[in-house]
């Protein structure tokens, strides 16, 4: 695959998935400088990866795989401790004022907070779930079995229900 094709693929991918990549970087990094750095790392890895992309999977799956792999690598380097699983996070009390959580900004902050505290691959499943992907697509990106994805999505729904008032946010 020549340079032109690599550039074209990259341009096409960023036009379609650029906002999703930015959301992923935001979910992983709270600090704006680190976030931009991560986002640039993701874009660079994506551009580089297209030199070997030959339709092994759909473009969407490829883009998300690369982005998540870069995000996770950075996360492993920066912060090995302080992450929890979905089961452990379910034990943590929800916000003191759940009414506020329906407010968009607060809801986003809560979602970012939850994702940043989750271990991999739970954080990836939650991110992809929020991107409205089905279990099969999530399995293809993360490498988890369909059953494992379904179990996690079920727990994520429960977790989100606890953190956002069921009647108002869901």
């Amino acid at each position: 695959m020549g340079t032109v094709s690599q550039d074209e693929l990259y341009m096409h991918a960023t036009a379609e998935f650029g906002p999703a990549l930015a959301r992923l970087a935001r979910a992983y990094e709270a600090d704006p400088h680190s976030r931009l750095d991560l986002l640039q790392d993701i874009h660079f890895a994506l551009w580089r990866s297209f030199s070997s992309y030959a339709g092994q999977c759909s473009l969407r799956t490829w883009v998300y795989r690369v982005a998540h792999n870069v995000g996770i690598s950075g996360r492993v380097r920066r912060r090995r401790r302080g992450l929890t699983s979905l089961e452990e996070l379910a034990e943590i009390p929800a916000s003191d004022s759940p009414e506020d959580a329906v407010h968009t900004a607060h809801a986003l902050a809560t979602l970012h907070g939850l994702i940043r505290r989750l271990k991999s691959p739970d954080d990836q499943v939650m991110l992809l779930y929020l991107e409205d992907m089905d279990a099969a697509a999530i399995g293809e990106i993360t490498g988890l079995s369909a059953r494992a994805v379904a179990t996690r999505i079920h727990r994520i729904k429960q977790l989100l229900s606890r953190h956002f008032r069921q009647g108002e946010a869901s």
């Binding site: 640039q40 874009h43 968009t104 409205d132």
Partner: protein
């Protein structure tokens, strides 16, 4: 949860979150420059090692232990071998571009296995190369007593050097072993996730 998904997908974008191709090319250049500098540092270290040893030998600095030049040379060779190994592991076996496109669990497993293998075989490529030169040097020190140094002081010095080397290399070996064991535990967890 539809509303949460909508909120999530409609997050406002900032201008600096749109990255263009020229920025990517600049980043690729900076990546190449970093690799070049790292290689340059390794080469500089190798050349400094060779130069210092050559200087010690040519100016007779090893006197009264002139025969130490040979084990010293072996240690230089060991340094060069380790540098080559580091370069080979970091560059030649650098992550292929297509690896990034693997499913996350496979990608993570590949990375962990690579690190685990490097650590578990470190005794072979990081510790063992120094041993011939080191043992030879200690053997010479233990058998050649300079006339100007009292025998008891020379023995004490040899003992100190041997104990220090033993402590240092055992610690290094244990650190590698510990690191590999921890990675094995993480790999086990990954395998559990895979068969869930």
């Amino acid at each position: 949860m539809t509303d949460l998904k909508t909120i999530w997908q409609n997050q406002p974008m900032e201008d600096n979150e749109m990255i263009n191709l020229s920025e990517i090319r600049a980043r690729a250049e900076s990546f190449k420059t970093r690799v070049r500098w790292r290689n340059l540092a390794l080469y500089a270290y190798s050349i400094a090692n060779i130069a210092i040893t050559a200087w010690l030998i040519s100016t007779g600095q090893h006197k009264p232990y002139m025969r130490y030049a040979a084990p010293g040379l072996l240690i230089v060779v060991a340094h060069l071998f380790v540098i080559w190994q580091l370069w080979w592991r970091a560059s030649v076996r650098a992550m292929p571009a297509d690896l990034m496109g693997r499913a996350a669990l496979d990608y993570l497993r590949h990375q962990l296995e690579r690190q685990r293998d490097a650590l578990s075989s470190a005794w072979l490529w990081y510790i063992a190369p120094f041993m011939p030169g080191l043992i030879w040097e200690f053997w010479l020190r233990a058998n050649l007593h300079p006339a100007s140094v009292p025998t008891w002081a020379d023995h004490a010095l040899v003992l100190y050097l041997v104990m220090s080397a033993l402590f240092f290399w055992t610690t290094v070996g244990f650190a590698f072993f510990w690191g590999a064991a921890r990675l094995d535990v993480r790999l086990e967890r990954l395998n559990t996730l895979k068969v869930e």
